[in-house]
């Protein structure tokens, strides 16, 4: 059995989690909206970090565990690394009045 390279926790998710240190250009096959899709990674994705399964417009929710984990702060393309540079929290934001 081939070790899974990434995991999608809930079918509603628009991000996947890397189960190994993945390299830019690597193609990961995942089920997106019930269809098998090939996702080419645009950047390196370290073990445990996330990449996008779908295009996520700026100011749209990012979904993991089938729940909102924050808001995209810029356009996130398919295969993009998703982390603090493009995903903001909606909670504990004392900087927003």
């Amino acid at each position: 059995m081939i070790k899974k390279r990434a995991i999608v926790i809930n079918s509603k998710d628009n991000v996947a989690t890397a189960l190994d240190d993945l390299k830019a250009g690597e193609v990961i096959q995942e089920e997106v909206d019930s269809l098998k899709k090939n996702i080419k990674l645009n950047q390196d994705i370290p073990f445990g970090h996330k990449f996008s399964l779908k295009e996520i417009p700026s100011a749209s929710p990012v979904i993991k565990y089938g729940e909102v984990i924050g808001t995209a702060s810029e356009l996130i393309k398919v295969g993009d690394y998703v982390h603090v540079h493009n995903l903001k929290s909606n909670r504990g934001r004392g900087d927003i009045k």
Partner: protein
């Protein structure tokens, strides 16, 4: 289903038989530590509180010290005082003594300074240790277990593997009639709706919402984005981007059963079932909070590798991160592997954790316990030092 524990006069059951030297104020920490280093069988509880705080915090510190003293893993307590602190040492002594265990007090100022305090404190605890050593383990059924859970130095594997495995163990203990305690209110932010759905009553549901709002307001009062503080720099390095993501992975460590109640920090949990203790996520304050709640053992799920235990509550360290298992073998008691497709390793891991809890309850030592990692604790306070 049973384990071997130490009977206590108030009907509780200990899984350890320590004598604790509990410092009542930061100024007594040095002497407290010296005595614990001298007396085999004695452990020190140190903290930064006990004086120059508002009455709200002094009450919280008092209550926490009382309930730490009542923890069933303690056969006896020496309260080590400076002598001029704000917390009322005699009141703390009386309230712990109500549980029937021996409690003594010693004041550094009254006895004439550090050297006589170390000598007298060592004599008092020496005698307590010898008396406690005659208490024998007896058989108790699993409903006498009170277990806490914590996640620390979390990364993505925490939410995927080790937290659900801890939750599966909690579910088993719940089904055996035991008591399960979790908390870390900060790590409910963004996941509180899921916990609220599991509340046993409308009051519990309301209270969960209230403690989350209160904790979030405290963080927001500082006028900044709390990211970097929660999730921590280490969480972010481990792949967790937002507090919502951390929370959704964190709450699964509390299992899937209905939540019977919410306690304030420092309160003692006195009923069976699954309970929340309002508490922050940071280890020294959180571990103290659930030790005061009365837990006998703590399941500690880690991603990147949090090494600490607690002075008198054994901590079972589990991880689902294969790198942590490889690089920190001295600190990880149990590794849980990521399930392959079609495998149900989480349920199996839950069963294994449950059996390990019972082994620890009957006397098996954990790695943090043997290394003595976890000497420096604290008590959660909400107001300023004044």
């Amino acid at each position: 289903m049973s384990f071997l524990g130490f009977p206590r006069p108030d009907g509780q059951v200990g899984v350890r038989n320590h004598i604790a030297i509990i410092s009542t104020v930061i100024c007594a920490n040095d002497v407290t530590l010296k005595i614990a280093q001298q007396v085999e069988g004695a452990v020190a509880f140190l903290h930064d509180q006990g004086c120059c705080q508002t009455p709200i915090d002094l009450n919280q510190v008092t209550k926490t010290l009382v309930n730490l003293g009542k923890n069933p893993n303690l056969a006896g307590v020496l309260l080590l005082s400076l002598g001029c602190e704000s917390v009322l040492v005699e009141e703390i002594r009386e309230r712990i003594a109500a549980s029937g265990k021996p409690v003594k007090t010693l004041s550094i100022q009254q006895i004439g300074g550090m050297l006589p305090a170390v000598a007298e404190g060592s004599r008092i605890t020496q005698e307590m240790v010898i008396k406690a050593s005659t208490i024998r383990r007896e058989t108790f059924d699993d409903s006498h277990l009170i277990i806490g859970v914590k996640c620390g130095a979390s990364d993505t594997t925490s939410g995927l593997i080790s937290n659900p495995a801890a939750g599966a163990a909690f579910d088993l203990l719940y089904d055996h009639g035991g008591t399960c305690v979790f908390g870390e209110t900060t790590e409910f932010l963004g996941a509180e709706h899921i916990l609220m759905r599991r509340a046993a009553t409308p009051e519990v549901k309301k209270k969960i919402g209230e403690i989350v709002t209160r904790m979030e307001q405290r963080a927001k009062m500082m006028g900044v984005d709390m990211r970097g503080g929660q999730p921590t720099t280490g969480n972010i390095k481990g792949g967790l981007t937002t507090i919502e993501e951390k929370s959704l992975g964190a709450i699964v460590k509390g299992g899937t059963k209905s939540i019977q109640g919410v306690y304030e920090y420092g309160d003692k949990v006195t009923k069976k079932g699954l309970y929340i203790v309002d508490s922050p996520g940071r280890e020294p304050e959180f571990l103290t909070g659930i030790a005061a709640a009365g837990v006998q053992i703590i399941i500690f799920s880690t991603g990147i590798g949090a090494p600490q235990g607690f002075p008198f509550v054994p901590v079972l360290k589990i991880t689902g991160n294969p790198k942590t298992e490889k690089y920190l073998p001295d600190h990880i008691d149990k590794f849980i592997k990521l399930p392959e497709e079609g495998e149900n390793t989480i349920a199996q891991a839950g069963e294994e954790i449950y059996q390990e809890i019972k082994a620890i309850a009957s006397g098996k030592k954990t790695k943090a316990e043997v290394l003595g990692y976890g000497q420096f604790s604290n008590i959660f306070t909400v107001g300023p030092v004044i």
